[in-house]
Symmetry: D2
Subunit: 283 residues, 4 copies
C-alpha cells in the first residue's frame, strides 16, 4: 500500500456504541477507514478493536495524539502506529542460524517493514554470518556469574539504539524478569512444543522416546517464566517412528522458522493485541 495509514489497537471494558464512536471520530475528522476488526471476549466483557484509517491530513503525530486522548475518553487503552513508521528491531541469537537467516532474508527482501539495528549474541559463532548481511553484530558473553552485567550492557545497547522490538531467534538464554521489566518493549520468542509436553532437557530425545506423532513450535511474547507468555502463533508437523532424533530436530527447525516469521510479521503489522496472558491476533 502506498498511502500511509494509521493503525490503532484498542481494548477496554465493553459498552454500547464503541464501534460507532470510534468510526464516528475518524469520519468526522475526514479520515477514511480502510479496515476495522472487532472482538468481544464474552467471558471477560472486554472489547478489542483494530482499525486502519487514512487521515485527512498528514500531520501524523497530531492525529496520533488526538486519538490517544479520544481513546482515553471512552475508557480504552490504545496503541497507535503509522504505516510509514519502520520499527527498530534487535535480533538475539546464540549458535543456531536457521531462524536468523530466515528473518534476515525477509528483512533484506523488504518483506518486513522494519529496520534491523542490532544482532546480539552470547557467542561469536554467527558473527561472520551476521556481518555478511551488513548488519551490526554485538558480542555479549554470558556466564551465570555475569548474567546481571551482561543484561545491563544489553539493556544499555537496546536503549541507545531505541529498539522497539526484540526477537529471540533461538537465543538460548532465559531473560530475567528485571531485564524484561526495564526494557519495557515487546520480546518475541520461539520454542518447540510437544503433545504431551516434556519437562527437563533434551526435549527432542524425550519426544522420540515417547513416540509422538506430531512436533510443534510456539511463538510467544517472552515473560520471566520460561517458554510461557502470551501465544502469538503455533503450528505442528507430522512425524513417524521412522524419524530419529536428528530428523525431529531438522523438522523442528523448519517449523520454528515459519512460526517465528509469521509471529514477527503479525507484530510488525500491528495485528497482535495482548491482554492478560493471551493475545487477540487480527489476521
Amino acid at each position: 500500500m502506498s498511502l500511509p495509514v494509521h493503525i490503532a489497537l484498542l481494548h477496554g471494558p465493553d459498552q454500547p456504541g464503541l464501534v460507532a464512536r470510534t468510526a464516528g471520530w475518524i469520519f468526522e475528522r475526514g479520515g477514511n477507514i480502510v479496515h476495522a476488526d472487532q472482538h468481544r471476549d464474552m467471558e471477560s466483557g472486554i472489547f478489542f478493536q483494530r482499525i486502519e484509517w487514512i487521515p485527512a491530513s498528514d500531520a501524523t503525530s497530531a492525529e496520533t495524539e488526538a486519538f490517544y486522548t479520544f481513546a482515553s475518553s471512552i475508557g480504552m487503552q490504545a496503541r497507535v502506529t503509522s504505516s510509514s513508521h519502520r520499527p527498530r528491531v534487535a535480533i538475539f541469537v546464540s549458535k543456531f542460524d536457521h531462524c536468523f537467516h530466515d528473518l534476515a532474508l525477509r528483512w533484506q527482501s523488504s518483506d518486513y517493514m522494519c529496520d534491523v539495528v542490532a544482532v546480539v549474541s552470547n557467542h561469536r559463532d554467527l558473527e561472520e554470518t551476521v556481518r555478511g548481511y551488513g548488519l551490526p553484530f554485538h558480542f555479549t558473553p554470558f556466564t551465570v556469574e555475569t548474567k546481571a552485567e551482561t543484561e545491563a550492557a544489553q539493556l544499555e545497547l537496546l536503549r541507545s539504539l531505541d529498539v522497539e522490538l526484540v526477537i529471540l531467534a533461538r537465543y538460548m538464554q532465559v531473560l530475567s524478569e528485571d531485564f524484561l521489566k526495564n526494557l519495557g518493549r515487546p520480546v518475541i520468542n520461539i520454542h518447540h512444543s510437544f503433545l504431551p509436553a516434556f519437562a527437563g532437557g533434551r526435549p527432542y530425545h524425550q519426544a522420540a522416546a515417547r513416540g509422538v506423532k506430531l512436533i510443534g513450535a510456539t511463538a510467544h511474547y517472552a515473560t520471566a517464566v520460561l517458554d510461557d507468555g502470551p501465544i502469538i502463533q503455533q503450528d505442528v508437523t507430522r512425524v513417524t517412528h521412522r524419524h530419529g532424533v536428528a530428523d525431529l530436530v531438522r523438522k523442528g527447525r523448519d517449523l520454528e522458522k515459519i512460526v517465528l516469521a509469521q509471529a514477527v510479521r503479525w507484530h510488525l503489522e500491528s495485528r497482535v493485541l495482548v491482554y492478560g496472558n493471551k493475545t487477540v491476533v487480527f489476521d
Copy 2:
C-alpha cells in the same frame, strides 16, 4: 448465546464513512453491536460487512425492515436475519450416506440451528436411514427423459415447504440452470478436488494413476456449471503410493463430511457473503 441478535451482511461500492454510518444507525436506535467485521476488496473497490447487534426492542421484523431501508440509502445490498430464526433446510441425497449421516447427527444434537424439513432422493436406498432420524423422505425418481418433470416436482415440494437452503449431500445429479433460477434460494454442494484437476469420470482412479500426494474436497454454492460456483470451504488430506483407489475414496468421504459440515455451519450462521463468483467468509 441466549439473546436474539440481528445479523446483517452488507456489500456495495466503498465510500468514506460506511463503518461509522452503519454503527451510528444501530447505536442511535439503542442497539448494541456484538460483533462487526469489515472487508474492502482493493481491486474491485467493494465494501463488505457482517454486523451482529442486539436491538433495543424485540420488534424483529420492524428492525429488519428499517435496516433494509437504511442499507439502501447508503447504496448497499443487505441480507438480515435474526438468530431466533431457524432456516428451513432440504437435503438432497442419492446412494452415499456418509454426508447425510454427518449432517443429520449435527442437526439431531442441536449443533445446527435449522429445521430439516425434507430429504429428497432420486433413489430409495436411503429411505429407511432417513426415516430412522424421524425425517420425511421424498422419492423423486430421475431419468434423462424425465429431468424436467422431476425438477418441477422438486421445485413445487421445496416451495410448498418454504425451504430456504438446499444441501446437496452427494446428490449425484446436476441441477439445471432453470431449476436454480426458479428456486432462487442458495444450494450448497460438495465435490472432490484434486491437484491437478481431472476432467472426465472416475476422478479417484485418475488421481491414483497420477500419483497425487494430496486429495481435496470443495464446498461451494451450486451454479448451473458443474462443480463450479462460489467456493465456501476447501480442505485436503495427504495420501501416498500405499493408498489404492479404495483408500482414496474412503479418505475422500471423511474429507467431504468435514468440509460440507463446515460450509453449512458458516451459511447457517450468516457468515458467507457471495459476490460475483467468490465468497467472503466472516469466520
Copy 3:
C-alpha cells in the same frame, strides 16, 4: 482384498539376516509376500517388521503355529492374525455420543473389519441410541465405592464375550491398573491434548483462557496412568480468539472422532506394534 492373508507383527533384537530369514521362511513354504515393512530403532537396536503374505494352503491355524515357532527361533516376539478373522470389539461410552456414532457408522457400513459385540456404559443416556444400531447395551453403574465391583462385572462380561479389543469412546472413567492387567487385551482411548498441556479439570476453559492457537486430540493405548500410554495417532486443528469455549469443545469433538477412527482402523489392520511406551505404526 478377497484372498485371506496372514499378517505378522514381529519385534526383537536386531541381527544380520532377519529380513532374509523371514522372507525365506515364507517363500520356502510356498507363500507369497504381499507387503513387508521393516524398521530398525537405531538407539535401542530393536528390529520391527510387519509382513503380509498369502499362504500356500488355507490351513490357517497350522501356518500361524508354525510361524510362532519360527519367530521364536530367531529371537522375535510375534503376533499373527488372518485377514479372515474379525476381531470382537467392545465400545465403552458415558454420555457423549459423537465418537460412538462415528465408530458405529463405520462398523455398520462395513468400513471396519470387526464385530462389535457389546457397548458398555456407566450411564443409561445412550441406551436407545446404541440399540438403534442393533447393538447390545450393558449398563454398569459406577460410583467410587463400587468401582471394584463394577470393574469385576465388566471384566466378566468382556471375557464371556471373548472381547479382543476395547475402545473407550469418551468413557469418562479411568480404568484401574488391575482391570487392565486382568483384561490382558488392548484398550484404545481418545483424549484432548493441548500445547501447552493443562493439568486439572476443564481443559477447554484453560485453553481458551491461555489463548492457544491449536487444539489437539491423541489416541493411545490405555495404561493405568491417566491419558498416558503408547500414542497411536494425534492431530490438531486451528483456533483463534474468535472461538469461545463452546467452539473449542465442538471443534475438539470433530477432532476426537477422526483421530480415534484412524487409530482403531490401524489397530484392526494389525498396523500398530507397541514396545516400551511407544508405537511403530506401519501405515
Copy 4:
C-alpha cells in the same frame, strides 16, 4: 550415519519370492540390511523396493555391479547408490531468489548430501547473491530465437561438470523435450497449484478472483509438458478473502520453498522411484 550404506531402488513385474531373493542375495554376501521397504501396485502388478544395506567389504563399485547383474536376473530395473557418493547438482534460477536461498542454506549447513557445482540463470539479477555463497554462476541469456543455442550451451556445461541432478528453483523457462532427452538426468521443478486449476497467465490473480480458500505448490520431475510430470511432493496453505494477490504470492513463496526442499531431500536420499507418470516415495 557414519557407515557407508548401499541403497538400491528396484522395480519390475511382481513374482513370488522377490523379497526373499533380494534379502537372501545381500545376506549371503555378508551384507546387513539396515532398511527395506516394499510396495506392490495392485492394479499394475508392479513390485517396488527400496533397500539399504551395509556391504561386507568396502569394494563399492564391485558390489554395485554385482547387484545390477542380480537385479537383472530377477527381471528388475535397479538404481544403486552409495551413501558416500555426493551427487553433483546444478540449480537453475531466474530472478526470484527465495527457493535459491533456501536450497543454498541447506547445502551450506551440510543438511543436504550433495555438491552444488553450478548455478545457471537467464538473468544476471542473482549473480552477486550466488557468488556470496561461493558458488559458480553461469549466465545463459535466453530469447525465443536463441532457445536452441542457449540450451545447447547449458547442456554442454552440465555434461562438462558431470551434473547428476538439475533443480529448477523458480527458473521461469520451459525446458524443451530435446534438452531433457539429451540431458538424460532427472530435473526437479516447483510450481504453484490451485484447486481448481487455472490455465493461462497470472494464476495468483485468477486464484484471488476466484476466491480460493487454499493455495498449493507441487514439486515434480520435469517433462516436456509444462508443469506436468511425476509428482514428488505437494502441500497447501490456507488463505482467506483478506489475502490480496500480494499475500497469495508471498504465501506461495513460503510454500514453494518447503515443498521443493522436501522433494530435493527425498531425491538425494534415493527415496523416489519413478514409473510411468507417477512416483513411489519411500519416506
